[in-house]
């Protein structure tokens, strides 16, 4: 099994005027292909910051961020963008969908960015929407969907271009627990199938339990915790 995420001694801080706020302290992390990892921790502990670094949205102040074999922390902003477009799928807490595009178009967008267009793209996107159970809403505007449906579209969009790595940052944050559960099951189910890596931030015990591994973060320190699940 190949290593998809490999973090070595990652440091992240924010300078706020004269004070420096250290957010991540010497983080080491490994995720293999096909592995589904749950990231847990209190609010403000640095989960989102970590995800941003792994996706190349933000950079680490020190350490190596090796994703799919290349150290993306050494890449230029443009190269990181290209990397992200190709290898990363994202599900956020809010504002996932582009309001000016239909459901189908939202799912088509990552394909198009990767140069897949026309009938191939259409078939693939419809297939994905079918898997999340929303094929019949393909031409609807996102704001007509419920919160749970919107997140399902986001899942379809995160997976449609077959990325190496899927990142989900509290994708269930503003959903009721049943719906949230459903979304995460869908996510773990769909990622696991294709041998991709999944890193999701969650507060749900059951979801964490269904992951292959749970990683806990505490005030910027990573505590690998593959056995007990104490949230």
């Amino acid at each position: 099994m190949s290593m998809i995420v490999e973090l070595r001694n990652v440091e992240k801080w924010y300078d706020e005027g004269t004070t420096r706020r250290q957010v991540l302290h010497g983080v080491d992390m490994h995720i293999q292909a096909g592995e589904r990892v749950a990231l847990v921790g209190k609010s403000g502990s640095g989960k989102s910051s970590l995800l941003n670094i792994i996706s190349g949205i933000d950079y680490a102040n020190a350490g190596d961020v090796i994703i799919g074999g290349s150290d993306i922390n050494q890449l230029s902003e443009a190269a990181r963008t290209q990397f992200r477009r190709k290898h990363v799928g994202f599900v956020f807490q809010f504002f996932n969908l582009v309001p000016t595009l239909t459901v189908l178009e939202n799912v088509l967008l990552p394909l198009e960015l990767n140069g897949v267009m026309g009938a191939t793209a259409h078939t693939r996107a419809m297939q994905m929407l079918d898997q999340v159970g929303l094929a019949d809403r393909a031409s609807t505007a996102p704001d007509r969907l419920s919160g749970g449906e919107q997140q399902r579209v986001a899942v379809a969009r995160a997976l449609v271009h077959d990325p190496l790595l899927v990142l989900a940052d509290e994708p269930t944050g503003n959903l009721d627990s049943d719906t949230g559960e459903q979304i995460l099951q869908l996510l773990t189910h769909l990622t696991g199938a294709a041998g991709r890596a999944l890193l999701m931030v969650t507060h749900s015990r059951e979801v964490a339990a269904s992951a292959d591994r749970v990683v806990r973060i505490q005030a910027g320190h990573l505590v690998d915790d593959s056995t007990g699940v104490q949230l």
Partner: protein, 847 residues
């Protein structure tokens, strides 16, 4: 082509069509003003050149004389001594139609026997020879185009009348002029052709010619003719080419055009701010969308391209609309432009615009270029949008606020730079650059000024109007990234209003003062002139003697004003009587009055300030005057302030003028009465002396009033432009504020949810926009004053050469402040209405 990606942003303006529409209208207005001014000027120039070319025909050269033309004997010499058969004498003049509205008619007196080689395209129906022959068969016969005949209501063979020098002149239409092509046909508009003898009689030019048209071949024979001509021509007669002559006439309006262009460029700058404003909002509103796209891996370059394409669509549509509007506006402005040219410079008859390539091209280029410049910063901002998950609005605002002082300092430096450039480099282009730097610098200082004003008024606002007012004050500062742009745009528009207002006021103040100083006689007598501001039509003979002999008169001053040709543009020559009592009527820019008058009475001349500036002449230099005795170098002994013409004035005693020019005529008389005499009664007395002569007899007050009226007329265009700039600005501020407030629907929904009632929301929104208007107005006061300074002391001085007094008019400032606040409040009404109407639940659901 990434279809879905493009759709994601291109659908955005469709969701807010009015916002896109306002941006398009903004660009369109800016472009329209610029090309309208250009087309109007160009049309007037073309009309003049075309009609000159038509009446010049195939002449290669022209002989022109002094103010009194060329003696007829010269023509005979050319025919007999030089043997140049291809020569034709011409007498020109103007008449006025008796229609309403009146038309200025050009009279062209020609010699039918010499005409054949020259103006054969003016073929009267029935053949040139027949038509020209008809001129000789009847007294007072004229030829004209069918269109002119229709306009005058003249029919073939029937008598009709026009006004020449204020008197009714009957004439008969004997033939219609016809030409093949439409352009020449238009050049024939308002042209009356008659026999030269008739024209001389009508125009009071018996025995004299205005010019002699020549065809001199470009070969050895031609060269021989030229040498021979040089020997037979009397000193005052000169050989020129028709194009030279026409060119130097049209160049007279250069300053006028520069000034109009400066104003139209200001309108474009306001338009630029509008595009900048709109695109900045487009970016700000779309930040979440752009952030999401960035997360999905859309690159900075791709985002920049998306924004550029959208902006370009607006720019292209706006420019296209602007061209259409500009053509319409040009037709409207043409009348105003032509009237000013006729008032001040030369006679031009033009009723329809001529579309040529350059003004339209310039409009397209300026519109697109201005849009691109205005797009640059918002596009860069958009591309810089961080991916969604690291996006924090408050940190963005924090960043903006940290930038504010830096921006303020930069702005200050830029303003200083603009000031120094204008002060130190006396070229019009440098002044434009300086003015632009001043304007942009002021816009950059606006954010910090906004913060300062808000900090100053917050305690007071809370005490007087409670918490909601306090909230409004705070909101203006917390969303500074957006409010500052809108405030800056409004500030610039208001500053332009102040600047133009102060400029016009200063002009008026100076000229009225000057008129009071210089117009001293109690009654003025002159011949009616076509060019309202100039008195080159001679008084009928005997008027002076008769007026001077009237009882109850202290003394009569004689004036003779003529246009004096120079190597460049012509200047106004004024010959006059000056006694000791008249010395106080002169204000000196240079020279010692104690020495000026003795020298003036001996052999020196005095010149006006614009002439001194334009030709870099000073006391002690000489001015080369083309006289009927040849070129004479006259020493300059003084430079006086004069606001009558930017072409420049040369003054000399009338006795000397009559020695150097064969021109016994007078242009006007200044009649001085004893202290307590009734000048209006004297006006009537003088009029009664000349019951059959067309004379303008005006009292001191009437003349001053009519001079000020002409001045005001020249500012009619300025006022139209100022109004247009204000409309553009209002459209801009309206778009900006509406967009800004609507973007906060969610926040307002939250306020509704926690218990604010719709009335309080109204209060909140209107307080915010009102405060923004207040800041814009306050900042505009010093900025407008600085721009006025630039217009009055730099741009006007370079283009016209006038030293103006600065008119400090408090009401202009007060009006500007009120305009700013009212415009901002009006712009707040639509968003306030929509926000107050929205249900809290609905507002919260958005996004």
């Amino acid at each position: 082509m990434m279809r879905v990606l493009w759709l994601s942003t291109l659908r955005w303006p469709l969701r807010r069509p009015w916002q896109a529409l306002l941006a398009i209208v903004g660009v369109a207005m800016g472009v329209a003003v610029v090309i309208a001014i250009d087309i109007a000027n160009e049309s007037a120039r073309r009309a003049f050149l075309l009609s000159t070319a038509t009446v010049t025909g195939r002449a290669t050269d022209q002989l022109t004389g002094g103010p009194n033309g060329i003696p007829e004997a010269v023509f005979r010499r050319i025919r007999v001594d030089v043997g140049l058969r291809e020569s034709a004498p011409v007498v020109e003049g103007y008449a006025t139609s008796v229609t309403t509205p009146t038309h200025t008619l050009q009279i062209l007196g020609i010699d039918p026997f010499s005409e054949a080689p020259f103006r054969s395209e003016l073929t009267p129906s029935g053949g040139l020879r027949d038509g020209l022959a008809q001129l000789l068969t009847q007294p007072d016969a004229v030829l004209m185009s069918r269109a002119t005949a229709t306009m005058l209501g003249a029919t073939l063979g029937q008598p009709f009348a026009v006004t020449i020098a204020g008197a009714r002149q009957p004439m008969v239409l004997v033939g219609l002029l016809e030409t093949g092509d439409a352009a020449t046909q238009r050049a024939l508009d308002d042209l009356l052709i008659t026999d030269i003898g008739v024209a001389q009689h009508w125009l009071g030019k018996v025995g004299q010619l205005d010019r002699i048209d020549l065809i001199i071949p470009a070969d050895a024979r031609g060269a021989a003719v030229r040498t021979q001509l040089a020997t037979v021509l009397p000193p005052g007669v000169r050989l020129t080419t028709p194009t030279q002559r026409a060119q130097s006439t049209t160049e007279m309006t250069a300053s006028f055009e520069i000034n109009l262009n400066a104003l139209s460029l200001l309108a474009l700058v306001v338009g630029m701010f509008l595009i900048y404003n709109t695109m900045t909002f487009a970016v700000v509103q779309r930040r979440p969308l752009l952030g999401t796209l960035r997360c999905l891996g859309v690159s900075q370059g791709e985002i920049a391209r998306l924004m550029l394409v959208e902006g370009s669509v607006i720019a292209v549509l706006g420019t296209a609309l602007g061209i259409a509007l500009g053509i319409g506006l040009a037709q409207l402005l043409l009348g105003l432009v032509a009237r000013t040219i006729n008032d001040i410079y030369f006679v031009v008859t033009v009723n329809t615009i001529t579309l040529t390539f350059w003004p339209l091209f310039k409009g397209v280029v300026l519109g697109l270029l201005a849009s691109l410049v205005a797009l640059a910063i918002p596009t860069w901002e958009a591309a810089r949008t961080p991916p969604r998950t690291v996006l924090r609005r408050s940190s963005y605002e924090e960043q903006t606020r940290r930038l504010v002082p830096i921006l303020g300092w930069l702005g200050l430096v830029l303003m200083l730079f603009g000031g120094v450039v204008m002060w130190q480099i006396p070229f019009i282009l440098a002044s434009y650059v300086g003015l632009l730097a001043l304007t942009l610098g002021a816009a950059m200082v606006t954010p910090i000024a906004t913060v300062a004003v808000m900090a100053a008024i917050r305690p007071l606002a809370v005490r007087l109007f409670g918490l909601i007012a306090g909230m409004a004050v705070r909101d203006v500062v917390t969303s500074l990234s957006r409010t500052a742009v809108a405030v800056a745009a409004l500030m610039i528009a208001v500053a332009v209003t102040i600047a133009v207002g102060l400029m016009v006021a200063s002009f008026r103040l100076t000229v009225v003062d000057w008129l009071t100083t210089t117009i001293r006689a109690d009654v003025f007598v002159s011949a009616p002139a076509i060019t309202a501001n100039r008195l080159d039509t001679p008084l009928p003979a005997g008027v002076y003697e008769k007026v001077a002999a009237l009882p109850g008169i202290d003394r009569v001053r004689r004036y003779r004003s003529t246009m004096l040709p120079t190597d460049t543009t012509p200047v106004l020559q004024i010959a006059l009587d000056v006694t000791e009592a008249d010395h106080a009527a002169f204000l000196w820019a240079e020279g010692d009055p104690a020495q000026i008058w003795p020298a003036f009475n001996r052999d020196a001349i005095i010149i006006s300030e614009p002439l001194a500036l334009r030709h870099r002449l000073h006391v002690g230099d000489t001015f080369m005057m083309r006289t009927d005795r040849g070129d004479v170098a006259m020493p300059i002994v003084g430079v006086f302030y004069d606001y009558g013409t930017e072409l420049g004035v040369v003054m000399q005693p009338i006795e000397r003028y009559q020695q150097f020019f064969d021109d016994p005529h007078l242009s006007s008389l200044g009649v001085y009465l004893p202290t307590d005499a009734d000048s209006e009664a004297m006006v009537t007395t003088i009029r009664d002396q000349f019951p059959t002569t067309a004379l303008m007899v005006r009292s001191n007050r009437t003349l001053r009033e009519s001079s000020v009226a002409i001045l005001d007329r020249t500012f009619a265009i300025t006022n139209v432009l100022q109004l247009l700039a204000t409309i553009v600005a209002f459209v801009g501020i309206f778009a900006a504020l509406t967009a800004m407030q609507l973007e906060r629907v969610r926040e307002f929904g939250m306020l509704r949810a926690i218990g604010l009632d719709p009335r309080q929301l109204w209060q909140l929104v209107l307080s915010e926009t009102g405060l923004m208007g207040l800041v814009a107005g306050l900042v505009a006061l010093p900025v407008g004053t600085a721009m006025a300074w630039a217009l009055i002391f730099v741009i006007n001085r370079i283009s016209f050469g006038w030293t103006l007094q600065f008119a400090f008019e408090p009401h202009i400032y007060l009006n500007a402040l009120i305009t700013a606040i009212v415009a901002a409040l009006l712009a707040g009404i639509v968003p306030a209405w929509r926000i107050a109407r929205i249900a809290p639940a609905l507002a919260l659901r958005e996004e």
